[in-house]
């Protein structure tokens, strides 16, 4: 690195500001924001660690907090379980070698050296879909896969296998703690994480990743989400408070956890998408040409073809930190590292928050960002990427751009289709939906069967996605404060939002709420950024 990465900035749009690039699903839009609008640009990618293997070794042998070095925890005859974050992290998937695979290989080396031969490796996917063979290979590497998978020692967690779960107890707040039986019966559980955003990691890794519906429902609900302000800020997140209580109960139960957390920089887009890493007025001739060519090439393509192109993107992330040891101490350092990369300070809230939603969220890797996931990406993830207070004022308006096509991946998201056709057709109120439909979907035998044997998200998962939006919906004052720009009209209405074809139309529609001359703030995400609103 020849120069220090620049911090993110808040640009005030004036007459000389070029149009701003909005992500728009599997495409882009150039939008001219009204003069006076503010655009929040992310920090540039931090310098990465050159010697990642060295950093891993250092972390394993120099643990943080009250924890012995990994080699000291390994001995022959023991039961070792390694759990790792699933396909939902990172976004986009990272170019090989994936950091998880590198870490797992080092852990296995140590285990082999210590003569440990009872090792199982579990994708900690909670209620997410099972990972395919190709995805598992990508995450852990072919060597690990071929050594473990054929014998059934590398597998996806199954939250619906009653024989593979252990009820550990109930917290003093009544939250049940149910965990993978194999993990509970292990002498050591090593958890390998990628902490893409501040939501991830800490006690959430184990307490959520290896837990079934019975345990998750205590915090994956409307009330908790409304009290999590935001769920990206663990100190102010009810979601994390509850997870932490469950995590501490797990620790107290005697399960020894060796937590390994990693952070990445924001080197998100490889060539030819490099222009996405830059600020528009700094685009050179080549960036402009590439962008024009990309647009021209994408335009005639059907969405399915665009989708294939976008989903082939693998990010050239650099690793910025690896830390291991006791969960809470490790996680405190991890959060510091995440903030170092992502946090941008913004002065004051605005009436209108605009965002261009990309093609990808945590739940549609190699899949389709369906309308429910679009809602969750905008009002769940992007809205909550704040510390302090939201970018948009209470009672304000969110304008999010996305094609929002009523398209679904039938294998990955079967219960989403029914949620869209049946539940949202009835109500868009998270509380009503939770009360009226959640249990039926959560305990549905067919969804259960698809989750366990096919590659389906759990039947209840679309509900969680909708709950994720409930803080934003409450803060804004309802779905009519949400405008989907350039989205499918019918699908947008089904979500309870308002459709607009252009930014100008969207602002016109918003004017009955925020008036003719609202303050506007736009977040340029991705590359990822989190705002601290003063």
């Amino acid at each position: 690195m020849t120069r220090t990465p620049r911090r993110g900035i808040v640009l005030e749009v004036d007459t000389s500001t070029p149009p701003i690039l909005f992500h728009h699903g599997d495409s882009f839009r150039m939008e001219r924001l009204p003069t006076g609008s503010r655009v929040v640009y992310p920090n540039e990618p931090l310098a990465s660690i050159d010697d990642v293997d060295g950093a891993i070794d250092h972390a394993l042998t120099n643990p943080m907090g009250d924890c012995e070095p990994l080699p000291a925890l390994l001995h022959s005859g023991m039961k070792l379980t390694i759990a790792f974050d699933d396909i939902s992290l990172p976004l986009p998937p990272m170019q090989t070698p994936d950091i998880r695979g590198r870490i797992i290989e080092r852990v296995l080396d140590h285990a082999a050296a210590a003569g440990v031969d009872d090792v199982e490796i579990i994708a900690a996917l909670a209620l997410h879909r099972r990972m395919t063979e190709d995805e598992l290979r990508h995450a852990v590497g072919d060597r690990v896969y071929d050594a473990f998978a054929p014998d059934g020692l590398l597998y996806n967690f199954d939250a619906e296998d009653p024989d593979a779960l252990t009820h550990l107890g109930t917290t003093d707040h009544g939250e049940e703690v149910v965990l993978s039986k194999r993990a509970v019966e292990s002498d050591l559980l090593v958890y390998v994480n990628i902490n893409l955003v501040a939501l991830d990691g800490g006690h959430k890794s184990v307490a959520t990743g290896l837990s079934p519906y019975q345990a998750l429902r205590h915090h994956h609900n409307v009330e908790t989400m409304r009290k999590s302000r935001s769920f990206m800020d663990p100190d102010n997140s009810e979601l994390h408070t509850k997870n932490w209580r469950q995590g501490r109960l797990i620790q107290e139960s005697g399960l020894k956890i060796f937590q390994i957390e990693t952070t990445l920089n924001t080197e998100t887009f490889p060539p030819p998408f490099g222009f996405l890493q830059k600020r528009e007025w700094e685009w050179n001739l080549r960036d402009r040409a590439t962008f024009s060519a990309t647009q021209a090439a994408l335009r005639p393509m059907p969405w399915s073809a665009r989708r294939r192109i976008f989903h082939s993107i693998e990010s050239p992330y650099g690793v910025t930190s690896v830390q291991a040891g006791e969960v809470e101490t490790v996680h405190a350092e991890t959060i510091r590292q995440v903030h170092r990369q992502q946090l941008v300070t913004v002065e004051g809230q605005s009436d209108v928050l605009t965002m261009g939603l990309p093609y990808l969220g945590p739940y549609n890797v190699n899949s389709i960002l369906n309308p429910i996931l679009v809602s969750c990406l905008g009002l769940g993830y992007f809205f909550n990427l704040y510390k302090g207070k939201p970018l948009v004022r209470e009672g304000g308006v969110v304008i999010m751009g996305h094609p929002n096509l009523p398209e679904f991946h039938p294998v990955h998201h079967p219960s989403y289709i029914d949620f869209f056709e049946e539940v949202l057709a009835d109500s868009t109120d998270p509380e009503v939906i939770e009360h009226k439909y959640e249990r039926r979907y959560a305990e549905d035998e067919w969804y259960r069967h698809l989750y366990r044997t096919s590659y389906a998200y759990h039947g209840v998962h679309p509900f969680y996605m909708w709950y994720w939006t409930s803080h934003a919906l409450q803060h804004l004052g309802g779905g009519d404060h949400v405008i989907v720009m350039g989205g499918d009209v019918e699908a947008t209405r089904r979500l309870g939002f308002r459709p607009a074809s252009t930014l100008r139309d969207a602002l016109e529609i918003a004017s009955d709420i925020v008036g003719r001359d609202p303050s506007i703030v736009h977040v340029k995400n991705p590359p990822l950024l989190m705002t601290e609103v003063l």
Partner: protein, 777 residues
């Protein structure tokens, strides 16, 4: 006074369930309080004449006024004054029992208004009703030795295709009379039926019907094919008789078989009447009521209405005829009044003829009619399915000959196209194209029908004099002239069309007269609600193309390629693709044979390996191609408490991964060898076609279910036996033939498709299993 003249008399009426008949019954009951009526009604399959009288006559809105007038006494009055007896003018002796004969013999007046008014009836049917019907009445009266006044309703158009004045006289008296022996016509008509029947049973003809039946039904199984073949034969004979009739009528100068048979009927009456006093009343084209029982009253969809509606919908813009020609229309209440007035006269010693027509005294010009219609629909347009108004086009007149020819050509062209499309493997919305073609064909054929009729009537530029009718009216008491008004001079055509006729027509046609999206439940919604109603007991599903857009060949290809190396995979796929057409042809002929021979390919395949691979097959092919709406429907049935069963020709291993979707699954099963491989033979007849219906019924019997409370989902004509075996058939993405059949039967049709965006693989080739990967690495 008419009411006094008919007081205490018994009046027999034939054809009382028809348009004019209903008007007569109502009028007599309301305006002639002293008379009693004897209605000769043909018993229905399930309804007695009395029941038909109550349902088809008294329930008609014509009786609203009388109901109001009589109040609580209505039912008693009707029971006291009307007796409905079994009678059928197409049967010798009128199908009367001895008691019925006595009742008829006791009548003072017999009004014969039964007729086959269809212009396109088979020759022998028209002859039976229109020619022999009146004869039979005479015959019974003569056998009984009674001479009541016989008032026979005929038509002005018996005068035939001619120009100029047509007087109120019998045809034999007319200078234009063509001397035809009606007896010879009867014999010829009956012989023509026998000839056509013989011709239809020739081996070549039967082969043709059978082929046609197969084209229409596909592989629907023997019993259905046989029934269809016979149906087609009978239809062919009928069509032949229509053709023969039209030709015969035209050759003698009548516009159609209706007027031809009516004319000969008059002739026979005249010849055979003996001592029976005879009055013939000839109306022109009867249309909705001017005033009685209320303005606009009409029964059924008459001749001109479909034409008017087609025009208002923008479907027809060209009409045959000369704009200056006269359309002879007469309101139904005028005709009824004239018939009653004639019946109230002293029975005539010499037969009398009255024409009830408007053309000679109050002509309605074709141009005036069309301009008024256009003006009205411009002010009050119909709305299309999207709620947009349809602006009526200029009404274009053409010579009927040219138009007829053009339409004929168009119809022939579409029929060819239709046959072409029907043979394509189209489904669902694509098959809709064919349905649209069919609709267009129906419309054109309808139009062609109108053109033929109106063309003929248009050529018939006769003016029907009403001198006798005028004299009859003049002879009436002034009060009667008002009560029983039938002076066509009183009709103001513009007002009649705008305020009386058209408002009725649009109501009768149930067309949209309001803008905006349709409110309330659609027909589909209603059918869906029925299908999911808690009273239903079970739902049976086919798999391929009903719930999943895939088939046994694809599954096989996927499974077979999963463990092959790259070169082998390509070779395999190519081979299967080459064999595809012949396999499909076999599938079309007989699905059972197809499956039997196809499944031999699984011979010696290891069972456990296939079971393992089938789990992946479900995720990587079947579920990607599944119809989410279909899967949701299965689950909706289960939630409604219905037991669900999948009955499929697919192999058990293939469907095992989706078994939990259903309560029960009946798949095809291959024998399994002791060494854990598959054998070549199926354990049972695969559940497809007739077998599927049988399997379903056996399954339903096991659970004590009533098939009448069952729902069945299928997509192919080969599933017709299963669909017909349940009370609630649902057709999914039907192919062309089945789309036509379900449309006719009013079945619920669902258009289901794979999830939008589903990444369906282009070729059904399984991704390599890791064992194959390693060996290839």
């Amino acid at each position: 006074m008419i009411a006094d003249a008919l007081a205490g008399s018994r009046i027999a009426i034939t054809g009382s369930t028809g348009f004019l008949g209903t008007a007569l019954v109502e009028r007599l009951l309301r305006s002639v309080p002293g008379c009693e009526l004897v209605l000769l009604i043909r018993p229905g399959r399930r309804a007695t004449p009395q029941r038909r009288f109550e349902r088809e006559i008294l329930k008609n809105d014509a009786f609203g006024r009388l109901r109001d007038e009589l109040g609580d006494r209505f039912d008693d009055e009707m029971a006291r004054r009307v007796s409905a007896i079994s009678g059928d003018v197409s049967k010798d002796g009128l199908g009367l029992d001895p008691e019925g004969r006595d009742v008829l013999a006791g009548c003072d007046v017999v009004i014969h208004s039964a007729a086959t008014v269809s212009f396109d009836s088979p020759l022998d049917a028209s002859v039976e009703t229109n020619l022999l019907g009146p004869n039979r009445i005479l015959h019974v009266l003569q056998e009984e030795g009674v001479t009541p006044h016989l008032v026979a309703v005929s038509t002005c158009y018996v005068a035939g295709n001619r120009r100029g004045r047509a007087a109120e006289e019998f045809l034999t008296e007319s200078p234009f009379h063509v001397d035809v022996d009606w007896r010879a016509e009867v014999t010829a008509a009956q012989r023509a039926r026998a000839d056509a029947d013989t011709e239809s049973r020739a081996p070549d003809a039967l082969r043709r019907f059978r082929k046609e039946a197969r084209n229409e039904l596909g592989a629907a199984g023997l019993p259905m094919l046989a029934a269809k073949t016979e149906q087609l034969r009978q239809r062919w004979v009928d069509d032949r008789m229509v053709e023969v009739g039209r030709a015969r009528a035209t050759s003698l100068g009548w516009p159609d078989v209706y007027t031809y048979s009516k004319a000969l009927g008059e002739q026979a009456l005249l010849e055979l009447r003996g001592d029976v006093p005879l009055t013939v009343v000839r109306p022109s084209i009867i249309e909705s009521a001017l005033a009685e029982p209320f303005p606009g009253w009409i029964r059924g969809f008459r001749m001109a209405e479909p034409l008017i509606i087609s025009y208002a919908k923008g479907e027809l813009t060209q009409f045959p005829g000369n704009p200056e020609s006269v359309v002879d229309v007469i309101p139904v209440d005028h005709v009824a009044a004239a018939v009653i007035a004639a019946a109230a006269q002293e029975p005539p010693t010499a037969p009398k003829v009255y024409q009830v027509a408007s053309g000679s005294v109050r002509p309605l010009e074709y141009r005036m009619l069309t301009e008024t219609v256009r003006g009205w629909f411009t002010e009050k347009p119909l709305y299309d399915s999207k709620g947009h108004p349809i602006v009526p086009d200029e009404w274009v007149f053409t010579g009927s000959a040219g138009l007829e020819e053009r339409l004929e050509r168009l119809v022939a062209g579409i029929k060819r196209l239709d046959r072409g499309v029907a043979s394509l493997p189209l489904r669902g919305r694509q098959a809709d194209f064919n349905q649209r073609l069919q609709d267009r064909l129906d419309l054109l054929e309808q139009a062609l029908g109108y053109v033929k009729i109106y063309g003929a009537y248009g050529r018939c530029e006769a003016l029907y004099s009403i001198t006798e009718l005028d004299a009859l009216r003049e002879s009436l008491d002034p009060a009667d002239r008002e009560t029983f008004a039938f002076d066509p001079r009183a009709v103001d055509w513009r007002t009649y069309i705008r305020e009386v006729h058209l408002p009725t027509v649009v109501v009768q046609a149930r067309v949209r007269q309001t803008p905006g999206a349709r409110r309330g439940q659609s027909r589909e919604d209603r059918l869906r609600a029925q299908v999911l109603h808690e009273d239903r007991q079970f739902a049976a599903f086919d798999l391929e193309n009903t719930l999943i857009a895939s088939n046994v060949v694809e599954s096989y290809s996927w499974l077979a390629t999963r463990r092959l190396g790259t070169a082998d995979r390509i070779r395999f796929a190519a081979k299967l693709a080459a064999a595809g057409p012949s396999m499909l042809a076999q599938d079309g002929r007989d699905r059972t044979d197809f499956l039997r021979s196809f499944y031999r390919r699984y011979q010696d395949a290891p069972v456990d390996q296939l079971e393992e691979d089938a789990v992946e097959l479900a995720s990587q092919l079947l579920l990607l191609k599944a119809f989410p709406d279909g899967l949701r429907r299965v689950r909706a049935h289960r939630r409604a408490g219905h037991r669900t069963v999948l009955i499929t020709g697919a192999l058990d291993v293939v469907v095992d991964p989706i078994r939990p979707l259903f309560d029960d699954v009946v798949p095809a099963r291959l024998r399994r060898h002791d060494d854990g491989t598959f054998g070549a033979a199926l354990t049972d007849v695969p559940p497809t076609g007739e077998t599927r219906a049988q399997v379903m019924l056996e399954w339903a019997a096991e659970h004590d279910f009533d098939p009448g409370q069952g729902v069945a989902y299928a997509d192919a004509t080969s599933d017709l036996p299963m669909l017909e075996a349940v009370g609630y058939p649902v057709v999914v993405n039907p192919e062309v033939r089945l789309a036509g059949i379900s449309e006719k039967r009013g079945w619920l049709v669902e258009h289901w498709s794979p999830s939008a965006g589903s990444p369906i693989p282009r070729l059904p080739i399984g991704p390599r299993h890791r064992s194959a990967r390693r060996s290839n690495a």
